[in-house]
């Protein structure tokens, strides 16, 4: 029998991880000081 990760599990794990990497990339490009 095949098993896979539920949609909630994928979302809970990957949104925070991808979110912080994306924010770091965006601030690297746009943060001017």
């Amino acid at each position: 029998m095949d098993y896979s990760l539920s949609f909630t599990t994928w979302i809970c794990i990957f949104i925070p991880f991808i979110g912080i990497i994306s924010l770091s990339v965006l601030t690297l490009i746009f943060e001017k000081e």
């Binding site: 098993y3 896979s4 990760l5 909630t8 599990t9 990497i21 770091s24």
Partner: protein, 508 residues
């Protein structure tokens, strides 16, 4: 005991000592010793901050937790990743600017200068907090190192403890911050390679992620659900019937709050060459932490498929996977990565503790006119003294993870709210800071000892952090307004362009 593994291990240790010796010649001033003369580029600052942060916990503790509880254990990884990002995003730059503006090289030093505290109370209270909590932290690391030597080479626990302690002390003693930061950089890379290499190899052999999920699902399908806590009972993975626990999840996520108060990580922000390097360092740090946390989680998941019967000590999964799969030469390198993780944290902690002794006690109370050279030597002696105490504590045994979690909560609650508010709230006062440090530290210490509170199952960092925050706000508002000088300095730092690069005085 395998000769190939010992040779690889030894080459690694000699390399680390070599870096210590090399930087020894470049360490002349107390600022060099503690901050590397604020000369770190974004790569070294980012990697050393992350390597100092992630102790043996990353290679032993997290895979062990995921091995026992499945993906539900990933909440702690999510909390830590988000905490790392927020710390780099909101604390790093201002702390770097402020500590340079007020010429501070340690956290207690910063508190004193930020609030113009001539009474030394703030400095001494924060230095005591640092020394006490790091003693337990360093001791936990020494135990973890000894367990690794013991398991990997089959040598006696006490002998393993002494060997590890001598190596760690030697290069922290010699090189100070620059050595620690450079070795942290090497160790950070080694840790990441090991973390990615080991699970990838297993996952490929299982037929990719689909194969991994299927193999785990056959053991217990709930191991694949982040919302379902699983535990090991009677040698089986059993789903906890109470299902999703809000308090449990909050406690795991709350580990991320601890970042704002960890002196060994915060000093990395102070040491970066220029604030302009911070956005790049932040991205490097965040990518490192995400990759390493996901990989550590995968190690735990892979282990579920490899060991039919649950292991006695789940935290040894990484060591066992390495020993069973790889030839001794590669196993030596991978096991050295565990040592790297342990050492890169302990050395930074020893350094911060020794700076508390030299800068905050010796210089302030005993020898106001002590020379730079004298302070470097006092720091070096205190590294030895603190290490001896840590080894004595380690010999008495104790649960490593409990100690780490306790120290992490202590720093997070005592210093986290003070650091954040001191950087963002002009109205904060010295008494507010004192109230915050004491409330945070005491809440953490008392919480575990009060039965009713302890039975809630909430990580003590959560109430400690919240109460410290409230104490700072209330006491500061009751207190009289900070002086004009303090407010002006705050405005200057906040509005400072940040483009001015720090010129390291090479002639010192």
């Amino acid at each position: 005991m395998n000769t190939a593994t010992i040779i690889t291990f030894s080459v690694y240790l000699i390399g680390m000592l070599g870096i210590g010796l090399w930087t020894y010649r470049r360490t002349n001033t107390i600022s060099d010793y503690f901050l590397g003369g604020r000369s770190l580029n974004s790569w070294v600052a980012a990697m050393s901050a992350q390597a100092s942060d992630m102790s043996g916990w990353l290679l032993l503790g997290l895979p062990g937790a995921i091995y026992v509880s499945g993906l539900n254990g990933m909440w702690i990884a999510i909390g830590l990743a988000v905490g790392t990002y927020l710390n780099w995003q909101f604390v790093a730059k201002r702390l770097r600017k402020y500590t340079e503006a007020v010429n501070s090289i340690t956290i207690p030093d910063y508190f004193e200068s930020r609030f113009k505290d001539s009474t030394k109370t703030l400095r001494v209270i924060s230095a005591v907090t640092i020394i006490v909590f790091f003693l337990f932290y360093a001791s936990a690391g020494m135990v973890a190192g000894a367990v690794l030597f013991e398991q990997a080479f089959g040598i006696d626990f006490n002998l393993a403890l002494y060997i590890g302690a001598i190596v760690i002390v030697s290069y922290t003693f010699l090189g100070g911050f620059l050595a620690v930061s450079l070795t942290d950089f090497v160790q950070g890379i080694l840790m990441l390679c090991a973390l990615i290499f080991v699970p990838t190899l297993f996952i490929v052999s299982l037929g990719g992620l689909t194969g991994l999920w299927s193999s785990i699902g056959q053991v217990n399908v709930d191991l694949l659900d982040i919302m379902k806590p699983v535990g090991i009972e009677d040698s089986q993975w059993i789903t906890n019937v109470t299902s999703f626990s809000i308090i449990g999840t909050i406690s795991l996520l709350a580990w991320g709050l601890g970042y704002f108060g960890q002196p060994h990580i915060l000093t990395r922000f102070m040491s970066i060459r220029s604030v302009a390097e911070i956005p790049k360092a932040r991205l490097i740090a965040v990518v490192w932490v995400v990759l390493s946390l996901i990989s550590a989680g995968l190690i735990g998941l892979v282990a579920i498929t490899q060991f039919d019967v649950p292991l006695d000590n789940p935290e040894s999964v990484f060591i066992l996977l390495v020993q069973t799969l790889f030839n001794p030469w590669i196993a030596g390198i991978l096991l050295a990565a565990i040592l790297a993780a342990i050492m890169s944290t302990i050395d930074s902690q020893l350094l911060v503790s020794s700076s508390a002794v030299a800068e905050d006690f010796y210089k302030q109370i005993f020898r106001k006119n002590a020379s730079e050279k004298e302070l470097v030597w006092v720091s070096r002696s205190s590294v030895i003294f603190i290490s001896i105490l840590a080894v004595i504590l380690a010999k008495n045994g104790g649960n490593v993870l409990e100690l780490v979690s306790y120290a992490w909560a202590g720093f997070g609650a005592a210093f986290g709210p003070v650091i954040i508010l001191s950087l963002f709230w002009r109205r904060m006062t010295k008494n507010g800071a004192l109230a915050g440090i004491l409330t945070g530290a005491l809440t953490v210490i008392l919480w575990g000892n009060i039965k009713i509170l302890n039975s809630i199952g909430l990580y003590e960092l959560v109430p400690g952090f919240i109460l410290a925050w409230i104490a700072i706000v209330i006491v500061s508002l009751i207190d009289k307004d900070p002086s004009f000088e303090i407010k002006e300095e705050f405005n200057l730092v906040v509005n400072h362009s940040g483009e001015q690069r720090h010129e390291h005085n090479k002639s010192v």
